[in-house]
Every structure is written in C-alpha cells, then in structure tokens.
C-alpha cells in the first residue's frame, strides 16, 4: 500500500501542475464526444439499435468541412468576420452532409430490415457492413493519407484559466457545442417533432396508433443525430485534419460516453461525454498514454456490467 500511495502522491504533484491545461483539453474533447454520442443515443432510443456506422457519419462531416475549407481558405489565414463566417459555413457543411449520409444509411441499411422485421442481430451486422463499406470507400476516393485542414482562424489563446491557456479552438467548440445541445434539448422537449421522437422511443405501436408517422420520425431522428455527428466531424477536422479512418476511435469513445450517461438519454449523452473527456485527459498523468484506451474500454465494460442504464438511466421515452 505504501508503494501505491507513493505512486499516487508523486503523480498528484504532476496533476496539480497540469490540471487546468488537461481539464480544458478534456472539456473540449468531451464536448466532441457528446455531440457524437447524441447520434447514438437518439437512434438507440428510437430503434433500440446501436448505429455502428455513426463513425462514418462523423467522418463524412469531417471531409465535407475539409473540402469547404480547402475551397474557400486561401494562402493567408482569415480573421474577424471572415473567420466566423467560414467556421459557421464549415459547421453547416459538416452538419448537412452528416444528415444526408445518416438519411441514406437508414434508407439503405436499416429500413429494408425493418420492413422485413429482421432479427436484431441482422441490424448490427448490417451496421458493421455499412461502416466498413463507407470508410474504405472514403479511403479509395480520397486517398489513404491524412491531410490537414486549412485553418479559417488564428489559434491564439483567448484567455487563461489559472495559467492554462484556453485556445480559440476550444472556445469555438464550447460555443458550438452549447448552442447545439441547447437547441437539441429544446427540440426534443418542446416541439411536436420532439414529442413524436419521444413517443416512438417509448412505445412504437401506440405512437403509430396515435398518428405518428413512424418512418418519417425515424428518418428525422437519424437526420438530427447525423447533423450533430457531422458538425462534430468538422470541428475535429479543423483541429486535426482528416483521414478515412478518423471515425473509428472517437465514435467508440462517444459510444462509451452515451452508455456512461445512460443510452437513450439525451442529456446523459452530453454529460457522459464531458465526464469521459475530462477523465481521459486527467488519466494521462497516472497511466501511460498507451493505456488510456484500456481505461476508456474499461469504463465501458464496467458500466455495462454494473449499471447498464448509465448515470442518468434510459429515459428518452419519458420527458427528457
């Protein structure tokens, strides 16, 4: 116990030193995970299906944003209003392409199965197939090399928290994330469309008896989830560039976040994302970077075994 205590104590000093920098980075990552997790949670709530191919929706949003930036950003880095305009355009481009991909995915890979009332295993296998098809197609069409995104803004530190710089990039993610989450929350809680989604999530047959158009609602669920996933893809691409395999790990982490927060629970997805992002970031002090993924998978396994309903519980069906 003494050696362990020693180990923790030594690392706590490092933690104190780096805490705020790691925390800020972790929050930014967490917001991204949350945006992707929303896609998983919405689809799961409505269809009881893990959309394994959501990682490719994330990737497609990233590529869309990358192409827009490549087309519009010249050799000099824009500033001011041009920056803001470009960023918004990038987010919109990512979101639109993400929704379109999600819609097409639902139509091609899931709807035929739904119409035939296929067993659940079939959906999962089809999702895996769709995921592999999409990212390898992207690799074929856009090449296998990673490329960096032309920057539409200058990434300086906007302000400092206790000595840790908060970069423009993190501020952008924070603003975009908060706006999207709030809008989504209002959409699901207050609008007719949202009520439809909640109704289908709660009980499909009763909802259809009540006049909710199931096919349309499911399509819209995918579209909304896809929009957020695609936007997250652009934000990720802005900071890290794009490559055809970019979707796999962030999406897996996002799924962990969704499960952590309570799959099917919208607010749970956001909260789970934040918790996972920060925890993962702080972990690097204690555990070698190589094992961070083990930590993330470990959290996933633990949550599924011990408390599968997650922190906030499966609740999309009830009032969010």
């Amino acid at each position: 116990m003494g050696a362990f205590g020693h180990y923790v104590a030594a690392h706590f000093d490092t933690l104190k030193l780096e805490f705020w920098a790691l925390f800020v980075g972790g929050v930014a990552n967490g917001l991204l995970y949350g945006m992707i997790a929303v896609g998983y949670t919405l689809v799961y709530g409505v269809l009881r299906l893990i959309n394994f191919a959501h990682s490719e929706i994330f990737m497609s949003g990233g590529f869309a944003g990358y192409f827009v930036m490549k087309a519009l950003v010249g050799t000099s880095v824009p500033t001011g209003a041009a920056s803001v305009g470009l960023i918004i355009l990038g987010i919109v481009a990512g979101g639109v392409v993400g929704s379109v991909m999600a819609f097409v995915l639902e139509r091609v890979a899931y709807r035929p199965l739904r119409k035939r009332n296929a067993p659940k295993l079939a959906y999962l296998i089809s999702a895996i197939g769709a995921s592999y098809f999409l990212f390898n197609m992207a690799g074929k069409e856009f090449g296998h090399l990673a490329v960096s995104t032309p920057q539409p803004y200058i990434n300086h530190a906007v302000f400092h928290i206790f000595g840790a710089p908060v970069l423009m990039y993190y501020v952008i993610i924070l603003i975009a994330g908060v706006v999207m989450f709030v809008a989504l929350d209002r959409l699901v809680a207050k609008t007719r469309l949202g009520r439809g989604i909640r109704a289908v999530a709660q009980d499909v047959e009763t909802a259809s008896l009540m006049g909710v158009n199931i096919d349309r609602t499911i399509a819209i669920t995918f579209i909304v989830g896809g929009a957020l996933g695609g936007a997250a893809g652009f934000l990720f691409a802005m900071g890290t560039g794009v490559v055809y395999t970019m979707g796999f790990v962030p999406a897996l982490k996002a799924f962990t976040a969704a499960v952590l927060g309570g799959i099917g629970n919208l607010r749970g997805a956001m909260i789970g994302g934040l918790i996972l992002g920060v925890f993962e970031s702080l972990c690097v002090v204690f555990v070698q970077a190589a094992y961070i993924d083990v930590v993330a998978f470990g959290i996933l396994v633990l949550v599924l075994l011990v408390r599968p309903t997650g922190i906030l519980g499966e609740r999309l069906g009830r009032s969010a």
Binding site: T14, L17, E18, A21, L22, G25, G26, A28, N29, L32, Y33, H144, L145, A146, V147, S148, T149, Q151, N155, P165, L167, Y169, F236, M238, G239, T240, G241, V243, T245, M246, F248, V249, P250, K253, G277, E280, S281, V284, V285, Q288, A289, A290, I292, D293
Partner: protein, 394 residues
C-alpha cells in the same frame, strides 16, 4: 448423425474447381519472353505497392525499373534483365506468401527489398533457404543483420546507427541538455527511440521517455488524436528543451499540431519514418511542422542524370522520392555483381555481393560480413518553407 450435404456437395466441389481453375487464369509474375542470345534473369522488387504506403513503394520500384532499363539499353552485359513486382503491402503477414512466390520463379536471381523491416523479418527465412540475395534499400531494423541470414544485405545504415547519430546531433551538436523522447509504440518507433535515449543519456542529457501510441488514423493503433492534446500538455509541463519522436510521419503530424497548441517551443527531431513531405501536408496547422528536423539514412540525390531519367520514367521528381536513390544503387550493385560472374546462379551472386565494392550515386557500396553497409552515413533534413530540405550529414 445427419449432415446435410446435397447443397454442400455441389458447393464445395465447385469451390475446389475454382481453386484449380485459378492458376489457369494466370498469376502476375514475370512473363519471361526469352531473348535470342542472352539469357534473361529476373530481379524482383518486394515492397508496398498498394495501400497507405503505396507512394514509398512507387519511389523504389521506379528506381529499380530505371536501373534495369539502363542496364538492358547499354547492351554491354552478357544477360538481359526483367523486373518482377511483389506487393507485400508492407505487411509481415503477406510477405511470406510473396516471398515463396518469388522464390518459385526459377529465373529470379535477386530481390531489391523487402522495403519494410517487419516484412523482411517474416520473408527472409524463405529467401535464405533458397539462397536468393535480398538487397534492401530501406529495412533498417538492427536485428535483421544478426539473424544469421547470409543472403541479407542493405544499402542504408540501420536504426542502431540512426538513433545514436541523432542523439549525438541533437545533444552534442545542437546543445540540448534535456530531451523528451517519444515513441509511437510500433516496433520501428520503439527501437529507434530506445537507441536514441541510450546514446542521449550517455552524452549527458536528461532523458524522459514516454510512449504516445499511434492513432487509428494512421496505423492500426488504438489511440485517437484527441488524446494527443493531453500528451502534448505533459510534454510541455516536463520542461524538456528538445524532443525526439520515434515513429511515422502520419502520427507525428497529428502530434505536432497538438504540441503547437500546447505551447511547445523547443526543437523537434524525428527519424526516417517521418522523413516525407506527407508530414507537412498532414500537420494541422501546417505551420506547426516548420523547423522540424528529420534524419534519414537515405539521401536526396545530387546526381542530375539520375534525377532527369527518374523524372522521365516516374513523372515525379526524385527529390521527393525517399529511398529512390538507394533502390537505384541496390539494383546497380546487383547488376555489377552479375557482370563479374561467368555463371550466374543465386548462390554465386550472394558470394559476389559479399566481396564487391561499388560506387553508387549515394555512397560507396561495400557490405560488412553481416550484410550491413560499411560506413554510417545519416543525413539530417529540416522542414523549411513547407518543404523538406537536406541539411547534410550528421
């Protein structure tokens, strides 16, 4: 016990037929149109000719092809040469199959390659048993020369030379007293980083070694670029003055972006795995790659006739073609050895290669007993103005 076989019989019989029909359609190999008087021999190239590392393979195979074409065109040799390409995708699970295929080709007398160290380690036993000389332009893993393969040669200095040379450069020449050594967890990166760290400590620098694993974005790693920001924060907080990265350009590109955001200011150096213009295109933002030092046992060719001929054949410049000059030299040393032999056989070629001394366009090629190149030339390059520029020997 009832086994349902009515469909099985038809299905499995047809698959067996498929198996038998396949070779009839033909497998890509040297087609061997024998010339009238001179015997034809095949020089093979084994390396990545598809997938993410395709460009590297193309660099090398065009150079091999150029050397072969020139040898045939000169008319001064008592043999004719053909090129056979074996695509192992840089994968040690695929290279044994390709090696066996190459060895089965009776006309094949030598291989330029394999390009990747892992693929070489997996394939060498087959080449060794068949006494086929393999002259690699780029496989730099140290243990390849000490595994008892008489037929193994390489025209570049190995990682055991590159790592310590880099350490001497960064610590002694550039005067950095503390170095943060990062390995990407791959077998290449770990080897290089360990060699570097050892020499750097011996040179009196304070060394901190960490592993920041490769991402799923670049290799089959399990990390994601989102973790790099935490790793970069750690690096900055360590207070080290310089950094050495053992790994490949793709992950380094991602890491450089995170380092820039975290506020890293010291020099960053990496090895030949990062020595590529793809490092610059893969770094977000591209300015984060500026000033990065890259070492390589490979040289940028200063030989203008080679450069012109290569450009004509490959349609891209040899200054961007890592390992092209080395592949050219590897092919030419094989040809030079063949010229000295009256009767060309695989074993005779291996013996001759052990003896030969040949002036190539990159260096004088003479092999030590274990197949390593004599001499320890490591070059250092730097990313300047969006391009990789060779600074000189370390």
């Amino acid at each position: 016990m009832k086994l349902r076989l009515n469909k099985t019989v038809a299905a499995v019989a047809s698959s067996a037929l498929l198996l038998m029909a396949v070779p009839a359609v033909g497998i890509a190999s040297a087609s061997g149109a024998a010339s009238k008087a001179k015997p034809t021999y095949v020089i093979g190239y084994e390396g990545p000719l598809s997938g993410g590392n395709l460009q590297l393979g193309l660099n090398m195979v065009f150079a091999v092809e150029l050397a072969i074409n020139q040898a045939n065109a000169s008319g001064k040799n008592h043999f004719k040469l053909q090129l056979a390409k074996y695509d192992d995708q840089g994968d040690p699970t695929i290279s044994p199959t390709e090696a066996q295929s190459a060895v089965a080709n009776r006309k094949l007398i030598a291989i330029v390659g394999p390009a990747f160290s892992g693929a070489t380690a997996a394939a060498e036993p087959y080449y060794s048993k068949a006494h086929v000389a393999t002259v690699s332009p780029s496989a730099t893993r140290v243990t390849l020369a000490s595994s008892g393969w008489n037929n193994f040669f390489r025209v570049v200095a190995d990682d055991g030379v590159q790592g310590p040379a880099d350490a001497d450069y960064l610590v002694k020449t550039k005067g950095n007293k503390s170095v943060y050594v990062v390995s990407d967890g791959s077998s290449y990166g770990t080897g290089l980083a360990t060699a570097f760290a050892g020499q750097a400590s011996a040179d009196g620098a304070k060394v901190t070694s960490v592993t920041v694993p490769g991402t799923a974005q670049c290799t089959d790693g399990t990390a994601s670029a989102t973790e790099y920001s935490a790793a970069a924060t750690q690096a900055v907080a360590s207070g080290a003055k310089a950094m050495f990265y053992g790994g490949y350009y793709c992950d380094l590109g991602l890491f450089l972006g995170a380092l820039g955001s975290a506020g890293w200011t010291g020099p960053i150096m990496s090895g030949d795995g990062s020595d590529s213009s793809a490092l610059i295109t893969g770094t977000t933002p591209a300015s984060a790659a500026s000033g990065v030092l890259l070492s390589c046992a490979c040289a940028v060719s200063q030989n203008s006739s080679f450069n012109r001929a290569f450009q004509n054949l490959a349609n891209f410049s040899s200054s961007n073609a890592t390992y092209a000059p080395e592949s050219y030299d590897a092919t030419n040393v094989i040809i030079a050895a063949m010229k000295k032999l009256k009767r060309i056989t695989r074993s005779a070629l291996v013996a001759e290669l052990h003896k030969i001394s040949f002036k190539g366009i990159t260096k004088r090629i003479k092999f030590q007993n274990d197949g390593n190149i004599a001499g320890a030339a490591i070059y250092v390059n730097q990313v300047t103005n969006g391009k990789v520029v060779q600074l000189g020997l370390e």
